[in-house]
């Protein structure tokens, strides 16, 4: 059971984020069938209502869809997945930029830092 949720944020929001990451990163593939709410709740160690709420939000955003008889599936719409990927990237970038700015770095310095890290990673 995974209980490593952040303390200061509603759990369903963190669940949504985890699902988005899994879908964008390909851990969950387009058309994959999701397990039942109960199973997912057990797997995440959360209340089934919380899991239900997360799935409801995901469905509203078009990332998953329900087939009346057979359950919930990951969307096969590449546009939606792409959009979510951009959203996640934007959010993370904004967060990163905010942090770097708070350190006192300017845009060109930030870009340089990224470039240096990339080269270091490539060499190792």
């Amino acid at each position: 059971m995974d209980t490593s949720f952040r303390q200061n944020e509603p759990i369903y929001l963190q669940l949504i984020e985890r699902f988005k990451l899994s879908i964008v990163s390909g851990k969950l593939l387009p058309g994959d069938k999701l397990r039942s709410v109960r199973d997912l709740a057990l797997w995440a160690g959360v209340n089934p209502n919380t899991m239900q709420r997360a799935l409801f939000e995901l469905e509203r955003n078009g990332l998953i869809y329900t087939q009346r008889t057979s359950g919930k599936f990951v969307t096969e719409d590449a546009d939606i997945i792409g959009r979510v990927r951009r959203e996640l990237a934007e959010a993370k970038t904004a967060e990163y930029l905010g942090y770097m700015r708070s350190l006192g770095l300017k845009t060109d310095e930030i870009l340089l830092a990224i470039k240096e890290k990339e080269e270091e990673n490539a060499n190792s």
Partner: protein, 231 residues
């Protein structure tokens, strides 16, 4: 209709107040944490709901009725103590529960015992304290009750057992039933709660959804609990 409702509920032992003017309502389908330090009135509240105590004033209603034979058929109660006869075996207890509770599902109890490797022929008195508690939990959760009242189910158990208990609660979740879990170990149960009911010195100090607490205060229920009950 709320599955559990308290209206101006007051209970005094002699002149000592245990609960003072408590009012709340729990709707079906919720998992509610009854959270408070030791001696705050959690057990008194649960005993009142189970008809083991009578209110001094006000009332407590189960599915709209005062505690009695009918309400007891709707409520599955897991007390803090070992309440099953020690001379009985797990198998005999399953028969006992099937006899008295129309909503008891023996197959589920047998499955859960089997999964934990607890022999059905074993007598309760031959079991360790931890095993006894698990058997009692299994019996309580094998009912299809409208309301489960679990008094300190994770007090003093090891982390693996705690996970097993929480998983059992999630696994048996039923949208038409509610679960009330009393505990002072909030961090352990927080993730499976819908709502938190804070009780302090016999009074309700907060009743809110866990999501809303986190959203509006930017802290976990455990964090809030520590703040509210700071010594």
């Amino acid at each position: 209709m709320p599955i559990l409702e308290a209206k101006s509920l007051t209970k005094r032992y002699g002149s000592n107040p245990a609960l003072t003017n408590v009012s709340f309502a729990i709707e079906p389908g919720r998992i509610v944490g009854l959270l408070g330090p030791n001696g705050s009135g959690k057990t008194t509240l649960i005993k009142l709901a189970n008809g083991l105590l009578q209110p001094t004033s006000g009332e407590i209603l189960i599915d709209g009725e005062k505690p009695g034979a009918r309400s007891k058929s709707l409520v599955s109660y897991l007390p803090e103590r070992i309440n099953v006869p020690l001379w009985m075996s797990a198998e005999e207890l399953i028969k006992f529960y099937s006899d008295f509770y129309a909503d008891f599902e023996p197959n589920r109890a047998q499955d859960m015992l089997h999964n934990l490797g607890i022999g059905e022929k074993m007598r309760i008195k031959e079991m360790s304290k931890g095993t006894r508690e698990k058997v009692q939990l299994i019996l309580a959760m094998s009912r299809r009750a409208k309301l489960y009242m679990l008094d300190e189910p994770i007090g003093g158990v090891d982390p693996a057992t705690r996970d097993y208990i929480l998983a059992t609660i999630i696994n048996n979740y039923d949208p038409s039933a509610s679960v009330v879990i009393s505990t002072h170990l909030i961090a352990d149960v927080e993730n499976i709660l819908d709502d938190a009911l804070f009780i302090s010195r016999g009074e309700i100090v907060l009743y809110d959804s866990v999501d809303h607490i986190r959203e509006s205060r930017g802290m976990s229920v455990d964090g809030l609990f520590r703040e509210v009950f700071r010594c």
